[in-house]
């Protein structure tokens, strides 16, 4: 057990009462604005002293109100990326980045030069935080946390202020962090795509309480969670192995349900053949067909069996089992009727190759 959290705290009307276990890898904290995500993260970091609770990180007790134990923040070795960057205004960017090093003992796992390059901070090193743009600040904050060689990373919407390009650049780096440094990460984000790509475990918070928790694939694929996530974000996670790259720039991924072809992105290129990975397939990117359609640009088709149909007001979520793996498809009630779909019937899941978003492809977070 990497991180075990049980907290109770009250802020006026707001009451936090959560307990969850976060295994190795990335644990995403997910929930509406004001649901208590930052409060949880602060309690783990030691910035908030909860009324009552226990926090264990990699076997060490950080907090145990019953035993009267409370480790101060500086002895918790958590790297915290704040929602507001909180750079030290009197230090240069370089000094901010190296700040954590002044206090850390032991081997340095993150390389300064590499972090600087990855986050595009080279040109900013001599500057002071005062004049940085919002995104620049957040990048420095990210680098600072990573370079403090923490044993636990806490990230409170670290990418919200970044543009898509920067996000896409940083995400693989976070993945690598997670996988190479075996750093457990508690990650707050509003973006399901980010969460799906990074998270091993997902904790859904609502008004201070955990409403769903478990492995990312399970929570994100569960039709029940779809409602909490927003229907557009519903989807399934598919485990796969990277197959060989082919001449026309595509790469084969062997999923339980059959082979899939994807464009060979840099992220995929970086993985060795045979590496396990994870695909997130949004329910709305999956079409159902009664027979494999011909003469169409969609390359990926998986034959499956309809397991369950959850009709909504205007559309339905269809759970398809594809050789034991689950896929979700979101289709209109009209299509449901026209195709006469029902549990037990066979159907083909058609997905546009490129509809599998690159940031929804990632390593599994388990040692490969």
């Amino acid at each position: 057990m990497t991180l075990s959290v049980a907290l109770q705290h009250r802020f006026g009307e707001f009451a936090l009462d959560t307990a969850f276990e976060a295994p190795a890898g990335v644990t995403a904290l997910f929930g509406h604005s004001g649901s208590g995500k930052t409060t949880v993260v602060n309690a783990v970091a030691g910035l908030l002293r909860p009324d009552c609770g226990r926090v264990l990180a990699q076997g060490e007790r950080l907090l145990d109100t019953e035993a009267g134990l409370w480790l101060p923040p500086h002895r918790r070795r958590v790297g915290y990326v704040f929602q507001d960057a909180r750079l030290l205004p009197h230090l240069s960017v370089r000094q901010n980045l190296l700040y954590g090093r002044w206090f850390s003992r032991g081997p340095r796992r993150a390389d300064f030069g590499r972090v600087v390059e990855m986050l595009g901070l080279g040109a900013l090193l001599a500057r002071r935080p005062g004049g940085l743009s919002g995104g620049e600040k957040q990048r420095v904050a990210l680098g600072r946390a990573i370079l403090s060689d923490p044993r636990l990373l806490l990230m409170d919407e670290p990418l919200a202020a970044l543009d898509e390009g920067r996000k896409a650049e940083i995400l693989p780096y976070l993945e690598r962090l997670r996988d190479e440094l075996h750093l457990p990460i508690l990650y707050v984000s509003h973006s399901v795509a980010e969460v799906a790509r990074l998270a091993t475990t997902v904790i859904l918070l609502e008004a201070g309480r955990v409403v769903a928790a478990g492995p990312a694939a399970q929570v994100l694929s569960s039709p029940a969670a779809a409602r909490a996530l927003g229907i557009r974000e519903a989807g399934a996670l598919l485990a796969a192995r990277r197959g060989p790259a082919e001449a026309d720039g595509l790469v084969r991924l062997d999923s339980g349900g059959g082979p899939l072809w994807l464009p060979l992105t840099p992220a995929l290129e970086a993985l060795p053949e045979g590496a396990p990975l994870r695909l997130r397939i949004l329910a709305q990117d999956v079409m159902l067909a009664l027979a494999p359609p011909q003469g169409i640009s969609a390359l990926n088709m998986l034959p499956g069996r309809i397991e369950e149909i959850l009709p909504g007001e205007r559309d339905a979520l269809v759970r398809l089992s594809v050789e034991g793996e689950a896929l979700l498809a979101r289709i209109t009630l009209r299509s449901l009727r026209l195709l006469d779909l029902a549990p037990g019937r066979r159907a083909y899941a058609v997905l546009k190759t490129v509809a599998v978003a690159p940031e929804n492809v990632g390593g599994t977070g388990e040692a490969s």
């Binding site: 910035l47 500086h74 704040f82 030290l88």
Partner: protein, 232 residues
């Protein structure tokens, strides 16, 4: 120029500078500590400490001088032990003048530093603590640099006050030329005799000159620090 002031007067100027500088520098660490305790601490005697710090401001300087004389004089309650055990003597030495000046300026220094402390964003200190900095390190690497303008302000107030302090000093360590005669004491002496005004005016000018230079330096320093913090 050297003729303009008598040797005793030159010595008074030099002594005032020494006394003020030493008083300011020596009281600075205490000022920071006390400001910290008042701004952040929670302990039973806090109101009392706060009152004690302000006492030199509230009391007529002469009273402070008497209290110092009773306490730190050679036969004073504290003074005799300081002398016996550590060989420290304040009475009728320039060190006594520095003690008096330091104590008189203390409330000003503490208040300036305290105000600066209260304006520090605790979220920055929290951020530093998550990066592994213990309380003392957070203080040294974050709080202290951020309150530097307040420290400079406090120091300059204390220095200015020390340059002008008279009542407590003359009462505590008397007015011995070359030993305890500060600029204000010398000015006082002139003001007590017929026709001494022009001599006093000369010394007043010197006092103003010295203090203005110190003031300009401190302003420049503050601005440099503020610019550093605002960044670019």
């Amino acid at each position: 120029m050297t003729d303009w002031l008598s040797p005793d007067e030159w010595r008074a100027v030099a002594l005032s500078l020494r006394v003020s500088t030493v008083a300011t520098l020596v009281s600075l660490p205490f000022g920071i500590l006390v400001a910290l305790a008042l701004a952040r601490g929670r302990f039973p005697g806090k109101a009392l400490l706060n009152g004690l710090v302000h006492l030199p401001l509230i009391l007529p300087p002469v009273v402070t001088g008497y209290l110092l004389l009773m306490t730190f004089g050679r036969r004073g309650s504290v003074g005799q032990y300081l002398d016996q055990w550590f060989g420290i003597v304040f009475a009728f030495r320039w060190t006594g003048a520095a003690l008096a000046a330091g104590i008189m300026g203390f409330p000003l220094m503490v208040r300036a530093i305290r105000l600066a402390l209260e304006a520090v964003d605790p979220r920055l200190e929290q951020a530093a603590s998550t990066l592994g900095a213990s309380r003392p390190w957070v203080f040294l690497t974050v709080t202290l640099p951020l309150i530097l303008p307040g420290i400079v302000a406090g120091a300059i107030l204390a220095f200015a006050k020390a340059m002008g302090e008279f009542g407590a000093t003359i009462t505590f360590v008397s007015n011995i030329p070359g030993q305890t005669q500060t600029l204000p004491s010398a000015i006082y002496s002139f003001l007590q005799v017929p026709g001494g005004e022009s001599n006093a005016a000369r010394l007043v000018l010197v006092a103003i000159l010295v203090a203005m230079i110190a003031l300009l330096l401190s302003e420049w320093l503050s601005r440099a620090i503020a610019r550093r913090i605002a960044g670019a």
